[in-house]
């Protein structure tokens, strides 16, 4: 047991506890955010320290610290930091529970970092539940009728999904007798399955896993909760949900399906096709239903369903890959990174604007471009990135993921995807239009705190960085994909 390997997690846990404890004594609650950020930074530092070196496993092969896990740890830590920066305004209005807020964010981040490194079903399940439970509370944090409703929906559906996921894990375990991913792969290998009804137990398990994780990543048709929850949750948490939670889902899908179910080929073909079909439907539904939306958070909810569709394209590519060249994985990873900064940026801008206009309705965003051009510019940039127009992270991600898909003869799917991008332009640009073209309904400029501005700047910087010189992150993503150990 090598505790060094879990220092990032330990740091997170400690900082969460410190935050809770200090909450009891501190008067200046803003320090809590600073402490949380410090914890995230230290944790980040620890993770960086682990980057060099080969994949190492610990805790009896339940945890693997490889570049894949570390990449996602970086991602989650950065996202959490952005969320916390974005939350400071929001949270400072709470009379109580500020410490709990930050602690829960930190704990769910902890769950995510564990999840990406976990290579054993029980650990995966527990880590997933840690994330979920923290998020249930965070979604309902405002305790007004919308927030609690969102929380209830999320919780009940999430619990059903957890049960289904667990059932799937049970079947996988039952079929192979193992819970460690590597062992499962080995067991499947030694069984030398030929497909057909004799392995339906495994297939059923696989389906249920897809459903369980599909719920997390908002894959069609398990995406129904998304718009409601996104709308009701506190905006920073919506951002967190849409980015981190989704990324965690994808991370674990990549890990499980690649490590445990990649062989035999017919198996990976099976789930590859499932993902491909779900991707196609999901992105179409998400984009089409996003068009008539009037609430921007809800619209971004649908948009995130569509984005999940693009991402699943990468998973499908991974499944259908005959050459095992990691292109599918690395494209998903890169897309996630780009999507993370983009969506974070968009939500941060929304927080700032909603603060001022006091509404999440798109029509109330009229004239933001005139009152606060920089803010509007930032949101425009993020929306453009979501549309997938070049020199933004969104474009590069799509390009990468589509290129991976084309290589696997998924051209039909890519065509659906690119057409979907066109549809999506309509509702993204509608927001842009409202901001820049319509006459302002409010007076004065949109003020925002330094933390918010910093977060927004960082996100936009990320969007442009990944859009213009994506090389470094792409390289990281490629390493991450290749160095997935088990």
């Amino acid at each position: 047991m090598d505790l060094v390997l879990i220092t990032p997690e330990i740091v997170l846990l400690v900082s969460a506890i410190v935050v809770i404890l200090l909450d009891l004594f501190l008067q200046r609650k803003s320090l809590l955010a600073v402490i949380s950020l410090a914890g995230l930074a230290i944790s980040f530092g620890c993770a960086v320290g682990l980057w060099c070196g080969n994949p190492q496993t610990t805790f009896n092969d339940m945890l693997t610290v490889d570049k894949f896990a570390l990449f996602f740890k970086f991602l989650f830590l950065v996202i959490s930091a952005l969320v916390i920066l974005a939350s400071t305004d929001y949270v400072s209005k709470f009379t109580r529970f500020q410490g709990e807020y930050y602690a829960l964010v930190l704990l769910s981040t902890l769950g995510m970092t564990l999840l990406t490194a976990a290579t054993e079903l029980i650990t995966i399940f527990v880590a997933l539940e840690l994330i979920s439970i923290s998020l249930y509370a965070l979604v309902g944090f405002l305790k007004d009728s919308k927030s609690t409703e969102a929380s209830l929906k999320y919780m009940l559906l999430g619990a059903i999904a957890s049960a289904i996921l667990l059932y799937g894990m049970a079947f996988v375990f039952g079929f192979t007798g193992k819970t460690q991913l590597g062992d499962i792969a080995q067991a499947i290998g030694t069984l030398s399955l030929a497909g057909g009804s004799a392995s339906f137990g495994l297939l059923l398990g696989l389906i249920l896993l897809i459903v369980g994780f599909g719920f997390k990543i908002a894959a069609f048709p398990f995406q129904m909760w998304v718009p409601d929850v996104y709308e009701g949750a506190p905006t920073p948490i919506t951002a967190y949900l849409s980015v981190a939670s989704k990324a965690a889902g994808f991370a674990i899908i990549l890990r499980i399906f690649y490590t445990a179910f990649d062989l035999p080929t017919w198996l990976s073909q099976d789930w590859g096709i499932i993902f491909a079909v779900l991707a196609a439907i999901g992105m179409t539904v998400g984009n089409i239903v996003a068009i008539p939306q009037v609430n921007i958070k809800r619209m971004l909810g649908y948009s995130s369903i569509a984005q999940a569709g693009y991402l699943m394209l990468g998973i499908a590519t991974m499944g259908l890959s005959k050459s095992h060249d990691f292109l599918g994985q690395s494209s998903v990873i890169f897309f996630l990174a780009g999507y993370a900064v983009t969506n974070m940026g968009a939500f941060i801008a929304i927080i700032a604007i909603s603060n001022k206009v006091g509404s999440d309705l798109i029509e109330d965003y009229a004239g933001v471009g005139k009152r606060s051009p920089l803010l509007a510019l930032a949101l425009t940039l993020c929306l453009i990135s979501l549309t997938g127009i070049p020199l933004t992270a969104g474009f590069m991600g799509k390009f990468y993921i589509f290129s991976a898909a084309v290589q696997q003869n998924l051209l039909w799917l890519v065509i659906i995807a690119v057409l979907n991008s066109v549809i999506s332009a309509y509702y993204y640009l509608r927001v842009v239009k409202v901001m820049w073209l319509d006459e302002p309904k409010f007076e004065g400029s949109v003020s925002s705190s330094g933390a918010l501005r910093l977060a927004l700047f960082l996100a936009c910087f990320g969007v442009l960085l990944l859009g213009v010189i994506p090389n470094y992150v792409m390289k990281l993503a490629e390493w991450a994909a290749q160095m997935m150990g088990f």
Binding site: I384, A425, L429, N471, M474
Partner: protein, 501 residues
């Protein structure tokens, strides 16, 4: 050339855009001067490039002013720019129009900072499209253009400007979506994004991931929307009609040419076999474009809309020239792109002045303006003559060479010489062209003067200056076309060699 002159030309406007973005809206004069300077310098540099371009036959197919730097090594993407005979004229045209549209926009008072920043960004992206030799760079530049256009149309436009802006964006994205799929297919067939390398090796030497025809049509889809090819053309009249004048000029002048350029550079060069195979379809579409476009033009009553529809017809000549696949027709098509850029640019610019000065855009309500605004009348007439293809204007030689080349084409369907027959039918287009231009002139400028237009201003000094530049260029190319054909043929010759003809 040691210093990166192309990059300098491409990115100077972007730099100007950033500088403008940093000023304040109230300093409109400063903004306009910055815009003028940051488009004038590229123009001067482009003139240098144009004249130092080596036209000798030995340079056929050689990329000049090449710059290549690794960009995203993982996917073999390079920052790779350079010019050959096909791209140089269009590149030059864009720098020219880039400068002229700043002058055309001199009267813009609404949010000048954003306007000029977007305008310069637009110039950068179009220059980038013409110069880039890497698919990814090409596509990126292609896509960037959408954003400035969206804003330029929807904020500074007129009429149903938002509808038009959205329509423009969605059409363009639809096209580029197709193109992206095509580019990816090409990439995975060849594992290269370099247009030059792929062309040099020939796509046939690779094992395609999808049928060649599919790749061809995907790529063509993007270009066809932009050119535009019937039935993807309906965005064009709307965008033109509602865009501000300067943007219409750029739109007609160079944006449409991106489609034609792409067809030559990608569809024909990279897929010579597919191009030959599907040429009959495209030639048929070209004919439809020409005749149908002209016919619809005749029915228009909005001055800008009329000119816009005439572009549909004129772009049909480009399509005809390209897919007739002969040296002369391709040269003609390229020349037609250049010429149409000048002529229609001038038409739009002048129509813009007319509309600005008279506050009227319905042709039926105009008339008799020749007495009140004689200079504009002369300018408009010259541009109209160019559009009709009257000899000594660039329009004539371009259309003539297109016809000449396409009639030489040996493209058959069975034993039916489709290229020849459809060329002859297409020549009817010049007849209809004369019809709509002359009828337009008559309805706008002739007949008895109307009292309501008394006191309408004629072209001012600035307007005369830029119109003069347009006119000089139109006649220069019309009288001395070798200045361009010598350049163009160095780019066309290797393509014809690929076609095996």
């Amino acid at each position: 050339m040691n210093f990166n002159i192309l990059s300098l030309i491409i990115f100077l406007p972007a730099l100007g855009a950033i500088l403008i973005a940093c000023t304040s809206n109230s300093r409109a004069k400063l903004i306009k001067y910055i815009a003028a300077i940051f488009t004038l310098i590229p123009l001067i540099l482009a003139i240098c490039v144009f004249f130092s371009f080596d036209r000798s036959p030995t340079m056929a197919g050689v990329i000049q002013f090449e710059e290549k730097a690794s960009w995203i090594p993982l996917i073999n993407a390079y920052y790779h720019v350079g010019l050959d005979g096909v791209s140089l004229p269009l590149f030059f045209l864009m720098t020219l129009l880039g400068f002229l549209v700043v002058l055309i926009s001199w009267k813009i008072d609404l949010r000048p900072r954003e306007y000029f920043a977007w305008l310069l960004l637009l110039e950068m992206s179009i220059l980038g499209v013409f110069a880039s030799l890497d698919f990814l760079l090409f596509f990126i530049m292609w896509e960037i253009e959408v954003i400035p256009m969206f804003f330029l149309i929807s904020i500074w436009g007129a009429g149903r400007k938002e509808y038009s802006a959205f329509k423009y964006v969605l059409y363009t994205l639809f096209g580029s979506a197709m193109m992206l799929a095509g580019i990816l297919s090409v990439y995975f067939t060849t594992h290269s994004l370099s247009m030059v390398d792929i062309t040099a090796r020939g796509i046939a030497s690779y094992i395609p991931v999808v049928p060649q025809a599919l790749m061809f049509f995907l790529l063509l889809g993007g270009f066809a929307v932009k050119l535009p090819v019937f039935p993807f053309h309906t965005w064009l009249p709307d965008a033109h009609t509602d865009a501000p004048t300067a943007v219409s000029v750029v739109l007609a002048g160079t944006l449409l040419k991106m489609g034609g350029y792409g067809m030559i550079r990608v569809c024909v060069s990279i897929f010579p076999d597919a191009a030959r195979q599907f040429a009959p379809i495209l030639i048929s579409l070209a004919m439809v474009n020409i005749i149908y476009g002209a016919a619809v033009t005749l029915k228009q009553t909005d001055i800008k809309r009329l000119i816009a529809y005439s572009s549909v017809s004129h772009m049909g000549f480009v399509l005809l020239g390209i897919f007739s696949l002969t040296t002369v027709s391709l040269t003609g098509a390229t020349l037609q792109m250049f010429s149409h850029g000048l002529i229609t640019g001038l038409l739009f610019a002048t129509a813009g002045i007319v509309m600005h000065n008279t506050h009227e855009r319905d042709i039926n309500k105009m008339g008799g303006l020749a007495r009140q605004i004689p200079i504009i009348t002369v300018i408009f007439t010259i541009a109209g003559l160019g559009a009709m293809g009257v000899p000594s204007t660039s329009g004539f030689i371009a259309e003539f060479m297109t016809f000449l080349g396409s009639f030489q084409s040996d493209i058959l369907v069975g034993a039916f010489p489709i290229a020849k027959v459809f060329t002859v039918i297409s020549i009817l287009g010049i007849l209809l062209g004369a019809g709509y231009i002359l009828w337009l002139l008559q309805r706008v400028f002739y007949n008895a003067p109307q009292d309501k237009f008394n006191g309408v201003h004629d072209a001012d000094k600035l307007e005369r200056v830029y119109s003069a530049i347009f006119i000089i260029m139109i006649f220069l190319v019309g009288v001395y076309p070798s200045i361009l054909t010598n350049v163009i043929k160095t780019g066309i010759t290797p393509i014809i060699n690929l076609l095996g003809g």
